[in-house]
Point group: C2
Chain length 354, copies 2
Amino acid sequence: MTPASPAIDAESVTALLERGRTLATPVLRAAVERLAPPMDTVAAYHFGWIDAQGRPAEGDGGKAVRPALALLSAEAAGGLPEVGIPGAVAVELVHNFSLLHDDLMDGDEQRRHRDTVWKVHGPAQAILVGDALFALANDILLELGTADAARATRRLTTATRKLIDGQAQDISYEHRERVSVHECLEMEGNKTGALLACAVSIGAVLAGADDATADTLERYGHHLGLAFQAVDDLLGIWGDPEATGKRPWSDLRQRKKSLPVVAALSGQNPAADKLAHILAEDASKSEDEIADFTEEEFASRAALIEEAGGREWTAEEARRQHTTAVAALDEIDMPAEVRAQLVALADFVVVRER
Amino acid sequence: MTPASPAIDAESVTALLERGRTLATPVLRAAVERLAPPMDTVAAYHFGWIDAQGRPAEGDGGKAVRPALALLSAEAAGGLPEVGIPGAVAVELVHNFSLLHDDLMDGDEQRRHRDTVWKVHGPAQAILVGDALFALANDILLELGTADAARATRRLTTATRKLIDGQAQDISYEHRERVSVHECLEMEGNKTGALLACAVSIGAVLAGADDATADTLERYGHHLGLAFQAVDDLLGIWGDPEATGKRPWSDLRQRKKSLPVVAALSGQNPAADKLAHILAEDASKSEDEIADFTEEEFASRAALIEEAGGREWTAEEARRQHTTAVAALDEIDMPAEVRAQLVALADFVVVRER
């Protein structure tokens, strides 16, 4: 179960992500400019286009995997990549709506190397601008006025509902002593898989693909999302803060029951028992006490998770989901080049370091 | 400019509101039951169907003006009232999404005689369940799968965007010393007029009405919304707490720049000057200091607003908006009985005490 890392055409992935950014960002910016002040400014800050003082910034807008997928999605159905642009923008808007609200709900102070919106502009603006981005996402699609746009909106709505379900599960798991690997995967499927799946179907739907094709594309996207999240969970513990933009041990600081942790706890070995004991003690501590942990205290927890098998299991899980994702592509008749690019993106997702 | 109060067929209005509740509530409840736990429970608490301990409650679900309007809307376009049900439910879901978020943003602790959701279930649940209701609203319409449903969703999205704009204006006005009557009306048109307008068009659109008819119905709804809000602003200062379910002087406690206040401040009279002076002093006080005001301190501010003309101007504005609303109905060819019922609802809105 430890296949060699897939061979990746790094240049091709870079070009794909760049194309997604180049085509989607101007439309995204124009959409955000339609927001009433001060929401336009707050959103521009969130996207990294301006700094907290309102000065233009060369922000880190994220990896932009979703826009790249939405354009490829249109091509997978035989359309021009441009057909996918409204879908790419709508998905990005929903993704960022959820980031704005989740950062507030979770009390996260940093995202993409910068203070989060609620830290800079206050909780009310984080709620309000999140709402506005969500509404704007529907607007962008529905103003196309076609039956396919309505179908795309329906899929986006379904994905958004799952996203919200996933966040509800995430919050409720925080207060529970034990979370099973199955529950964790279900939550991550909702929180990450659903919108990635939608990104992979939305362009195709806008290009007129039938529901069966869209469903199969979503299957690829769902498993890609689970691979993506497994890697994210690894980076949340062992990632390089310089690369991820998060604080060191960020998921451990938040006592997040992420995949490596729940997988470690499900192990039948002394390290798992020791980890369970320590985490049970941590659970009764205050947030301030956890924040005061030394580097060594976090490092020893991370070492136990690894010793109990959580790190390896999660890395394997990422590869398993990758394999399942790529297999789904064989069920659809699409241009060979598009298929190769979807495979390259899947490869990228599992080896990325940020 | 002080026409006699319109004659109202109270029985007919009660029957209309009751019909809206009877037809829409079961569908609304079934929709809310589709939410993943614990969001279904939190939403049920918000709607007043259960109490904070989860026991069934005979809640006050609000006046239910919007569902009644959505059903009449279908009839105005020659459809059966039942055709408007998904529209009624979608509008109620959006309305309650905004209440959940606004109560949290505004720090309001009471609604409909009960603690607000964020007070009982915490801010995260208020954000999350609000998001879920918004997504559900789109779902309810789009799952109909018709072109008219997509048009209805588009109108609902436009209304929701205005709703959010209105809340943004409301928040920004709180930090400003002066707000003009024009700005206040614009804000209230967004915050209250837009969704009421949508309620009055959505049933017609689902029944196949053309855009021109829907637009005219929205004009009636927009002015009805402004009349509604003017009355709400009066009740927010002079309303009977027993009837409104809000604390006495509720809008004064929040230093809300509502219509009576901004109209009073726009007056050229000694009372207006005195009021401006006092409110400027209040603006520099802390929330706790305002909360400690005596009954007499609030009463004297209310008396000054009235003396400066704010109360009478707002009451007249409600009647003006009522007149404009009813006039719009003449532009549409609809069954006489439906027209009479829309007029009766408009009459009800301006004389209600809760």
